[in-house]
């Protein structure tokens, strides 16, 4: 009885009694959810355009952030550092396309997946041998102060950096949406995502498209890396956190950009709520490590294609 009460009733009672804490937990969760979404976005872009499950996206985030921070530490102006890093990520996209993807055309998806794990290992070693393996703080002037917001039911503490990250993410998603809908390159990308052969037959050069998609994913990774870095410092642990983007993808569907965003928010808010109301009192905490994966796994039983994914149709 005691246990049942703790599982089913007590958490909800607390939520009602202390709504201010609930809102704080929710905001914190949603903000980390935004971060997951940013990483997941990169996965979705590449998966849609080329059907490759890019395991290295997490390392892209770390690599981009390492370059950005490294350049800034050398005294480069943040905006210039940002542009140079975008350039580096574009060169990287080109290199990946020429050196890894081209020679592996027509191989099984699992082989391409393994190749992206190889890329991940390579970039990790490469980034750290150039810039070193220490934790580096990012100082780009993101305001970091505790804001107190007086709501009707109590005082709520919000980090201004969290709000800033939310705004940046929303801006980025809007820009990407506009890019995909209103530019020729964006339209070509959507066409390739829909059907490779049809896209080829109307004259869309597939090779360039792949480079562009990897470069766009690199750009998204850079933004995600700066956001994460501002919060936690640029360190190797970033790539492990980025793995959380995988359950986000499962929830949202591998092929849906809105799915990646909403999945990220659900995972972020869900794991913080679970940790605070069930994890710490009942399970000794640290449930954030696995909560997202277990939710994704249970979710798969009911909707294998994710919330917004395309229905999986199989033919013999």
């Amino acid at each position: 009885m005691e246990t049942l009460y703790l599982i089913f009733i007590d958490p909800f009672v607390q939520m009602v009694v202390e709504p201010a804490f609930l809102v704080e937990v929710l905001i914190g969760g949603l903000m980390s959810g935004v971060m997951y979404s940013l990483v997941a976005l990169g996965f979705v872009l590449i998966f849609k355009a080329s059907g490759i499950f890019n395991f290295a996206q997490g390392i892209f985030v770390l690599f981009a952030a390492l370059n950005f921070v490294g350049l800034m530490d050398l005294g480069v102006h943040p905006i210039l550092a940002f542009l140079i890093t975008v350039g580096i990520m574009t060169v990287l996209a080109f290199a990946v396309d020429r050196l890894v993807l081209r020679p592996l055309v027509n191989q099984d998806p699992i082989i391409l997946f393994m190749a992206t794990i190889g890329i991940a290992f390579f970039l990790e070693g490469f980034g750290e041998s150039i810039w070193g393996g220490d934790v580096r703080p990012v100082r780009v002037g993101i305001p970091d102060a505790a804001l107190f917001w007086e709501a009707g039911f109590g005082e709520i503490l919000v980090q201004s950096s969290d709000l800033f990250a939310g705004v940046i993410a929303a801006f980025l998603v809007t820009v990407l949406a506009l890019f995909f809908h209103f530019t020729p390159v964006g339209r070509a990308l959507r066409a390739v995502a829909d059907d490779h052969q049809a896209a080829l037959s109307v004259g869309i050069p597939l090779n360039n498209i792949w480079v562009i998609v990897w470069a766009v994913a690199g750009f998204v990774a850079l933004v995600a890396g700066i956001m994460w870095g501002a919060k936690l410092g640029v360190q190797f642990a970033l790539s492990t956190i980025a793995l959380k983007a995988l359950p986000v993808l499962i929830l949202g569907g591998f092929t849906s950009i809105p799915g990646a965003i909403i999945g990220g928010l659900i995972v972020g808010a869900g794991e913080k709520l679970f940790e605070n109301y069930w994890g710490v009192p009942l399970l000794e905490g640290a449930t954030e490590e696995w909560f997202a994966y277990i939710v994704a796994m249970i979710f798969l039983f009911f909707r294998p294609q994710g919330l917004f994914g395309e229905k999986i149709i199989e033919r013999v």
Partner: protein, 358 residues
């Protein structure tokens, strides 16, 4: 010339169905096994046995397990480390609580427990496949490790949380714990390797293995010709987890001598996956070649600069090791996607014609 299939006549059904039908193959495998049992403990140095042969053999068992799941049945898994951890923790629990049970029984029993857990985490494979399944197996990786760290029952409420392996013996020789000699441990591990490799090879060419391969090649078509996907996929998960569980138990008991979670984290899962891919998907021999290659490569990279008289700082070596490792994986995938096992086959083809080119 030396190696040929022609002229080897079989006069009975049992000869036709033998595991190794070609005498040269058979003598080679028997000779290798005999050398591993008798020659290696007599000739090899302590370092070679303790730090290279034992871990390579144990990892070969794990690679065999993953190869059954990924190579034969086509279900991608990133949870190998977790199933190894399940084997290790449960072997410790069983060995310390049921003290009369001989250790050679404890380890398969721990494997069975891992198999049960594997079935539970294999259930989503009925609805999903490919990368979706890979993410679902990540759930096993993170959840199980968290469970083993957080629940002190698994380590008998040990205060450090990292208990040492209990000393146990087989036929009067200590095989686990601090007092065991490396040779005894090696032979103990080798016995498991030989038995499990023999079973795996036979499963692969019997009904169950053929149904796995049918599911791998096209699951809907396999269903249409009468292979039931539920038992087939779950049996692959169960047997694969059994192999991984045994490997984990041996790793904790005979190699590192402690039961600790860091030995079974996600990097272990990737390591075993690399072994399977580099060795060759769907090949028993490939599991061994891949395990040896992936385990020895970092050791080689570490010591290679020393042979040429260079000395390089430790952390730079680690970074360069990562880079080379990644680059080699990509290189291998491009040059020979079917792995080392395929290279071995090509070598045999060449040997058949040698020394005449046509």
């Amino acid at each position: 010339m030396l190696y040929r299939e022609a002229g080897q006549f079989k006069t009975s059904y049992s000869a036709d169905q033998a595991m190794l039908t070609i005498p040269l193959d058979r003598w080679f495998v028997f000779g290798l096994a005999a050398f591993a049992i008798v020659g290696v403990p007599l000739l090899a140095s302590e370092y070679l046995i303790a730090s290279i042969l034992i871990p390579v053999l144990i990892l070969s068992i794990a690679a065999l397990g993953l190869n059954i799941l990924t190579g034969y049945c086509g279900q991608l898994s990133l949870g190998t480390g977790a199933f190894m951890a399940a084997g290790a923790y449960l072997a410790y629990k069983i060995a310390t609580n049921i003290t009369w049970m001989p250790i050679w029984l404890v380890i398969p029993l721990a494997g069975l427990c891992a198999a049960a857990i594997g079935i539970a985490f294999g259930l989503p494979s009925l609805r999903i496949k490919g990368f979706y399944l890979a993410v679902a197996t990540l759930a096993a990786q993170f959840f199980l490790l968290w469970l083993f760290v957080k629940v002190p029952w698994f380590v008998n409420y040990s205060i450090s949380g990292v208990p040492t392996a209990p000393p146990r013996s087989v036929l009067g020789f200590d095989v686990t714990g601090a007092t065991a000699t490396n040779e005894a441990k090696y032979l103990f591990v080798l016995a498991f390797v030989i038995a499990l490799a023999w079973i795996a090879r036979n499963m692969a060419r019997s009904r169950i293995g053929r149904s796995w391969m049918a599911i791998r090649d096209m699951d809907i078509a396999a269903e249409l010709i009468g292979i039931r996907p539920l038992p087939t996929k779950l049996s692959a998960f169960a047997i694969s987890s059994f192999y991984c569980g045994v490997a984990g138990a041996l790793w904790a008991m005979c190699y590192i001598n402690t039961v600790e979670p860091t030995a079974f984290d996600i990097n272990r899962s990737f390591q075993v996956l690399f072994m399977v891919i580099v060795g060759g998907l769907g090949s028993v021999l490939g599991s061994f070649l891949g395990a040896a290659f992936i385990f020895l490569l970092p050791i080689f990279l570490n010591s290679a600069p020393g042979w040429f008289g260079y000395s390089v700082a430790g952390d730079i070596i680690t970074h360069i090791e990562f880079m080379l490792f990644g680059a080699l994986i990509i290189f291998f995938l491009i040059v020979e996607p079917h792995g080392l096992a395929r290279l071995w086959q090509i070598a045999k083809e060449k040997l058949r014609l040698w020394p005449f080119p046509y």
